[in-house]
């Protein structure tokens, strides 16, 4: 187990460097001078431009820029935006909103996805099973931003159950965006749970458990369900990262002041340090999620460790 964890940890390093360098390169490969763009149409003094270019290492070759950036990052310094504000300061302000949104989405996804999947899987071919199948297919087919607008229109404007934008209403403001963000993954979780449960219920060990006279509650709860949940848990773990990345669209629809909106604005206005900072943080979350899931997987399913 120790060796497996160590090997997996070592694999993370090249992936992190590769992914962040790719982003770094793409952000700074944008044609045009971000420093000149700062002042719009007005001319800038050469001295100011030189100082700024020096401060952001813009005259260095790209790999050197990247190396300096990573060196600072290792000390916990995400650098400064062109406006002079600390990028970590911006992130401190924006990340709580995104994290709250992600957590709500994750909660809905896990809770409703699992319930729907288990109910459908236990009664295969029943009305409920078909209902879950039809609903999940529909949810997968409706792009989240269309679903978001329809929800805004019906649940928000017509029925007035939920606020349609902003975060002024506390928890209530996160419910609708959370549901929309969760919808796609929720459908996947429900389907995955159903398929996995159906497959496991057919297995010999379930028949053995039944044959030795265990009550159905225990056969399902202690034997079938535990094994069926392994792929679901892995999916849920990996999905935390995707939810945070996908929040950008949901934040746009519901006008939530999270990192998504900030990244989007920064991409459009060529504010490299902000984009690189936030995307690096998201990539880190994404990779760590995958790492934790892989280790968790090895704990849950011992066969993995010996490959």
């Amino acid at each position: 187990m120790g060796r497996y964890v160590l090997r997996r940890l070592l694999q993370v390093i090249p992936v992190f460097i590769g992914a962040t360098f790719l982003i770094f390169w793409m952000v700074y490969a944008i044609p045009g001078d971000p420093i000149r763009a700062l002042s719009g149409d007005r001319p800038q003094s050469a001295a100011v431009m030189r100082t700024l270019r020096e401060r952001y290492n813009l005259d260095d070759p790209l790999p050197v820029q990247y190396g300096k950036y990573m060196g600072n990052l290792a000390k916990g310094d995400f650098g400064r935006a062109f406006s002079g504000r600390e990028v970590s300061d911006i992130m401190k302000q924006r990340f709580p909103v995104t994290i709250r949104l992600t957590l709500w989405a994750f909660l809905f996804e896990a809770l409703f996805g699992l319930i729907a999947g288990v109910l459908a899987g236990l009664r295969r071919g029943s009305f409920l099973d078909n209902l879950v199948l039809v609903t999940t297919t529909a949810v997968v087919a409706i792009p989240s931003f269309v679903l978001g607008f329809v929800a805004q229109l019906t649940l928000g404007l017509k029925l007035r159950w939920f606020p349609i934008a902003g975060i002024q209403n506390g928890t209530k403001s996160y419910i609708l965006p959370g549901l929309i963000l969760a919808s796609l993954s929720l459908a996947f979780v429900a389907r995955l749970t159903r398929t996995s449960l159906v497959e496991n219920l057919r297995n010999d060990y379930v028949r053995t458990a039944r044959a030795k006279g265990l009550p159905t509650r225990l056969v399902i709860g202690r034997h079938a369900l535990r094994n069926s949940l392994i792929p679901v848990v892995t999916f849920l773990g990996i999905d935390i990262g995707s939810l945070m990345g996908g929040a950008i669209i949901t934040e746009g629809i519901f006008n939530l002041p999270g990192v998504g909106g900030e990244v989007f604005r920064a991409v459009r206005t060529q504010e490299g340090p902000i984009v690189v900072g936030i995307v690096t943080a998201l990539v880190l979350v994404f990779i760590l999620c995958n790492l934790v899931v892989d280790i968790l997987y090895a704990v849950l399913d011992p066969r993995i460790r010996y490959e």
Binding site: G18, A141, I249
Partner: protein, 326 residues
């Protein structure tokens, strides 16, 4: 022997019909059992996985409906003029801005006072183009590299695996926004290119794992014993047998790519005006959602039906191609 990645499409078709000869006894057995059980005519000599799948697909109502819908959408995409006489860019009049649907103008008018029915129909082409181009790109790249990684293994496999890990480490929407912003002018192929960049690793992993299991099959060993070269084995024996999961995934993913294009265009980093795209229409409709919901609902409905058709078709294909799941 030519490079296996060069002439895949035509070879794939040839190889498909040649498949029973490759000695895949397992598929032959299941296929003949199924035809026998269904009481189908036994005179059919060619009972390959594909002909068997086709026979099953024809009976699947979901497949028939989704295939018809896709056919109609493809015709609309190729020749939208067949369905409407109105030019979506001409005859716009601001006096008709956001007029509601009527008997003469089924979808009403958009913000600029253009006929919305024509605009929604003409928007089909861009969505289909992006979806199709992206799938072609991911399949060519994913299958090519997947076959190399799975078949040859070794350091090539390791390099390709690390490369996919890196791409997987970047959330797709976020990465796509950053890359698309590099382009001043974005057309359907630009969006497709970026979606391929973030999409090919999934196809590759599917292909790689199929190839890994297929290269251990007896018929591959038999082919090698008869002196077939690696390229020939890859082309005639491994590719046709490993393609099924990729086809299923790509069909479903095609719908997903269309949805992603719409989302990116909606965010403002996909297609640009004056291009006609459902995502752009939804973007324009957003501020008027309360007074003119039809501006949102029509392109939204077309988008949903398109995506749904590909998902249903992919599901039907999976049922037909993978007997284990039945």
């Amino acid at each position: 022997m030519s490079n296996p990645t060069d002439d895949r499409p035509s070879e794939g078709l040839v190889a498909t019909t040649a498949q029973p000869r490759s000695g895949d006894t397992k598929n032959l057995a299941t296929a003949s059992q199924i035809t026998g059980a269904a009481g189908g005519d036994m005179s059919l000599r060619e009972a390959s996985l594909w002909s068997d799948a086709w026979r099953q697909l024809r009976k699947n109502p979901f497949f028939v409906v989704s295939a018809l819908l896709i056919l109609v959408l493809v015709i609309i995409a190729i020749a939208p003029g067949l369905f409407t006489d109105v030019d979506p860019r001409k005859g716009c009049s601001l006096s008709k801005s956001r007029v509601r649907p009527s008997a003469e103008h089924w979808f009403g008018y958009d913000f600029q006072g253009c006929d919305y029915f024509a605009r929604v129909l003409y928007g089909t082409r861009n969505s289909m183009m992006v979806g199709l181009l992206t799938v072609i790109g991911t399949v060519v790249l994913g299958c090519g590299l997947g076959m190399i990684a799975g078949f040859y293994g070794g350091w090539l496999d390791s390099i390709i695996a690390r490369l996919t890990d890196v791409i997987f480490g970047i959330p797709t929407v976020l990465g796509a926004i950053v890359v698309l912003n590099l382009f001043r002018e974005r057309k359907a192929w630009t969006v497709a290119l970026v979606l391929v960049l973030f999409g090919w690793p999934t196809t590759l992993r599917l292909m790689r794992s199929s190839v890994l299991s297929i290269k251990e099959m007896d018929y591959v060993a038999a082919a090698r014993a008869m002196g077939a070269s690696n390229a020939r084995i890859l082309r005639l024996h491994i590719l046709p047998n490993a393609l099924a999961p990729v086809i299923v995934y790509s069909t479903i993913a095609l719908g997903g790519y269309i949805a992603t294009e719409a989302a990116l265009s909606f965010l403002g980093v996909g297609l640009q005006l004056p291009a006609i795209s459902w995502g752009l229409m939804i973007d324009v409709a957003q501020p008027h959602i309360q007074n003119s919901p039809h501006l949102l609902l029509f392109p939204g409905a077309f988008l949903v039906v398109t995506v749904l058709s590909f998902i249903l078709m992919g599901d039907a294909l999976r049922d037909a191609l993978d007997p284990k799941l039945r």
